[in-house]
């Protein structure tokens, strides 16, 4: 089983494949262009939010405010970006810079990230309420068109997921700066002694997370065509679960972008799968929890056997 530990992305793939197989067995009609689109419809924003969370976990922090942040960017997209694109763009860029500054502050003052992001979640949520006190807004037409485009053979959601996984895999696993960023999670002191300015790297990691948070909010509005201040609050927990499902770990800079995207797809599929199962709505949330536990239990089973052999 050392295969699973060498390629930590194999287990997420295996669990996603298994879940897909069961879904197709239960509801064969989902094995079609339309069916797949329906299954993975909301996976794109979840995948982007999961990548954002992964970038924070990569530098040994955790972000409890990403859900509120995605909600805020969704509100900006549905109001300002739709009405005055320039103003909307400026605001979204400002939000990314705010995220980078938050990372710099966490590092410079040695603050616990869990608390700062928690506090910022109130700030993001409050700003979102300013913009959209009640649900509303509209998606910019071009964004709606991108999100509902129908590429041949494979549905949009899966194409987008592959694209996100490819780009972030290159960024994190292959590019030079990605390696240094992962190094912060592994041993920040060593990275510092090698002459890297830690504060700028932390700001970069948080800024990138902010960028992916903004993308998550935009794609979400493209899919739902409107927004409200609480639209993505559950993304905080979903994104953490997605990173861990994808083989990431809370400490040590051990993360896998491809795994994170697959983790997000698994979570999105689990929700769709349960609605196909004609399970009573009472139990849908609970069954999601049970699936999460089962997948993670499998992961740890392999690891323990591995540890025992070495």
């Amino acid at each position: 089983m050392s295969l699973f530990s060498r390629y930590r992305v194999l287990l997420p793939i295996a669990s996603l494949t298994l879940l897909m197989a069961v879904t197709f067995y239960v509801q064969p009609r989902t094995l079609s262009y339309f069916g797949l689109n329906l299954l993975f419809n909301l996976a794109v924003p979840i995948a982007l939010a999961t990548i954002a969370q992964m970038l924070i976990i990569m530098v040994n922090d955790i972000d409890l405010g990403i859900g509120a942040f995605v909600s805020l960017t969704a509100c900006v997209t549905a109001t300002f970006l739709e009405q005055s694109p320039l103003m909307g763009t400026v605001m979204l860029v400002a939000l990314i810079i705010a995220y980078a500054l938050m990372g710099a502050m966490i590092h410079a003052l040695a603050l616990p990230a869990i608390v700062v992001t928690l506090g910022m979640s109130f700030v993001w949520g409050g700003l979102a309420l300013f913009l959209l006190p009640s649900p509303g807004g509209a998606s910019p037409t071009w964004l709606r068109e991108i999100m509902t485009v129908k590429p041949p053979l494979i549905p949009m959601a899966l194409v987008a997921a592959c694209l996100i996984a490819g780009v972030t895999h290159w960024l994190i696993a292959h590019s030079g700066i990605g390696t240094v960023l992962r190094g912060i999670g592994g041993n920040a002191e060593a990275v510092r002694r090698a002459g890297w300015p830690l504060i700028r790297l932390k700001a970069l990691a948080y800024g990138l997370a902010g960028l992916f948070g903004v993308l998550a909010g935009m794609t979400l509005v493209g899919l739902t065509t409107s927004a409200d201040a609480n639209i993505a609050l559950r993304y905080t927990l979903l994104s953490i679960a997605g990173v861990i499902l994808g083989g990431g770990e809370f400490i040590g800079g051990k993360v896998s972008p491809v795994g994170a995207v697959i983790g997000a797809l698994t979570l999105a599929l689990a929700a769709s799968f349960l609605s196909f199962m004609r399970l009573s709505p009472d139990w849908q949330i609970g069954a999601q929890g049970a699936i999460l536990i089962a997948v993670l239990a499998a992961r740890l089973l392999f690891r323990r056997r591995d540890g025992a052999r070495r």
């Binding site: 506090g119 109130f122 993670l296």
Partner: protein, 312 residues
């Protein structure tokens, strides 16, 4: 710097006192006594879950209980359903609530110990199941608590709200266990360095189990009281206590790195969190402004507390 300023709990209390003074000066409409009474009532719920969360956070990085809201809702729903508003069933209700707390705590810890799941993920996934259980057993019904229980939860003894007295008793028990008992020493030792603690003969897993059981039982008690206080259980009644429980622990001066805990700070922070909202309400701030300012103030306190600690 005088030694009192080096106490980690002082910042929460200073912040609470300042907010209290500002709110009273602005004229909150109910006067200083009324405001203090309200702060004691509402702060008590935050303090009870906060003290429980503190025990878990003291176990070191990665230890946190995200199932508090679900446990509160489940315990309140099942307890109120068991009592069904019939007088004389209050103890039965309390018993059900305590059993729910023990059950969820044991389930959480089983996932952490047996499946080696990170506590964040274990409690998060388990909370989804508790939530489903609550939805399933509730069915949208709003059962009223028995009258005597509702009277107790909203009543006062010696001008102190009864819920605050319960909270103070629970906090006192934890404080004594931490400061005077060997269990407290074990807990902090496990939080500072689990390996060293294990080698020194501390039963680390047993200590962790007790901490996870305690936080769940406290959450169940808080949920039971909150439902009795507000006239029934609602499915979203625990929602705000997830962030609240973590926020009061950190603002109260407990180290997020584990190994240090602080009971008095929790109460200061719980009052502070309530008073900030009342202060902003008095100003006539809207929901958005209230939320933004709450966030800014939380971060401000954390920065103030951490820089003082670093230079002290």
């Amino acid at each position: 710097m005088p030694s009192i300023l080096r106490r980690p709990w002082i910042w929460a209390w200073l912040a609470a006192t300042a907010t209290f003074a500002v709110t009273v000066a602005l004229g909150s409409g109910r006067g200083a006594a009324g405001l203090a009474y309200a702060a004691l009532s509402f702060g008590a719920f935050a303090a009870i879950v906060g003290v429980g969360q503190m025990l878990v956070i003291s176990l070191g990085p990665g230890n946190v209980d995200l199932s508090i809201p679900a446990t509160m809702t489940l315990s309140a729903t099942l307890a109120l359903k068991a009592m069904d508003g019939v007088p004389g069933t209050e103890l039965l209700g309390l018993g059900v609530a305590l059993l729910v707390g023990l059950g969820t705590g044991a389930a959480n810890f089983a996932l952490i110990l047996l499946l080696r799941l990170p506590p964040i993920i274990a409690t998060l996934a388990a909370s989804l199941i508790y939530q489903s259980l609550a939805i399933w057993s509730n069915r949208g019904l709003r059962v009223k608590p028995p009258e005597a229980l509702a009277e107790f939860a909203t009543g006062r003894t010696l001008d102190i709200p009864n819920v605050a007295l319960v909270g103070l008793l629970l906090s006192l028990a934890v404080w004594v266990a931490l400061e005077r008992g060997v269990w407290g020493r074990w807990l902090l030792a496990a939080g500072q360095n689990p390996r060293a603690a294990r080698l020194a003969g501390v039963p680390v897993e047993r200590v962790r189990a007790t901490a996870y059981l305690t936080v769940s039982v406290f959450a169940a008690v808080a949920g039971f009281l909150l439902a009795s206080f507000s006239g029934g259980a609602a499915l979203n009644m625990g929602a705000e206590y997830l962030l609240m429980s973590i926020a009061v622990v950190i603002i109260g001066g407990t180290s997020i790195a584990g190994g240090f805990s602080n009971v008095p700070g929790i109460w200061g922070a719980a009052f502070f969190m309530f008073l900030v909202v009342s202060m902003l309400n008095t100003y006539g701030a809207g929901a958005g402004a209230r939320s933004v300012l709450t966030g800014v103030i939380i971060i401000g306190i954390v920065i103030a507390a951490s820089t003082k600690r670093n230079h002290a």
